[in-house]
Point group: C2
Chain length 112, copies 2
């Protein structure tokens, strides 16, 4: 049980980046930083660890490998499962944010 999150912000932004199509590691880092307005600064250790884990969970898969200017680029693609997980997490966060904002908007009436 426990459920909780299972998809924290770094992993979340990795999947979110892949919504824009297959992408390789460094591009994901830049995309995540931009999408989160600089708050999520993916460490390389986090990125590759997360990609391996997400691949093992079937949420992403390797799309292809390219060699650009002698450097290998490994492109990752979002799977249907990954897309579902991402949407579920987005819903969860929206709900969680709503809980707080709604409570804040409620004039102080006191419980019951």
């Amino acid at each position: 049980m426990s459920a909780s999150s299972s998809l924290r912000e770094p992993s979340y932004y990795i999947l979110a980046a892949l919504l824009d199509g297959p992408m390789h590691g460094y591009a994901i880092i830049k995309h995540a930083a931009q999408a989160s307005q600089g708050r999520v600064n993916l460490a390389v250790g986090t990125l590759y660890g997360a990609l391996d884990r997400l691949a093992g969970e079937g949420r992403v898969s390797v799309d292809r490998e390219e060699i650009v200017e002698g450097r290998t680029r490994r492109y990752y693609r979002l799977t249907d499962l990954g897309r579902q997980a991402l949407i579920a997490e987005a819903s969860r966060m929206q709900h969680a944010a709503g809980v707080v904002f709604r409570r804040l908007a409620t004039p102080i009436v006191g419980p019951a």
Copy 2:
């Protein structure tokens, strides 16, 4: 740096519960389960560990202790700092959810 979250869902729902006023441990667990629609099932180890940590960070503080029917109840209160952190986290989550939902709503046009 890295920022990321620092406030995960369990801790988030603990602070959110305290928006309704000072509350003791077990009441927080029930409140969190309800507010999260059953998804966040605070383990006791998580709760008390988190309360200690949050207290050390100045986000919550002990309000008072009561003895009800022979059992000690320790009530915790949300501090201004805790309230700020909670709002910041709610904003962060709303933004993160928006990133995904907005992208999903966008007809496939391709980047640039």
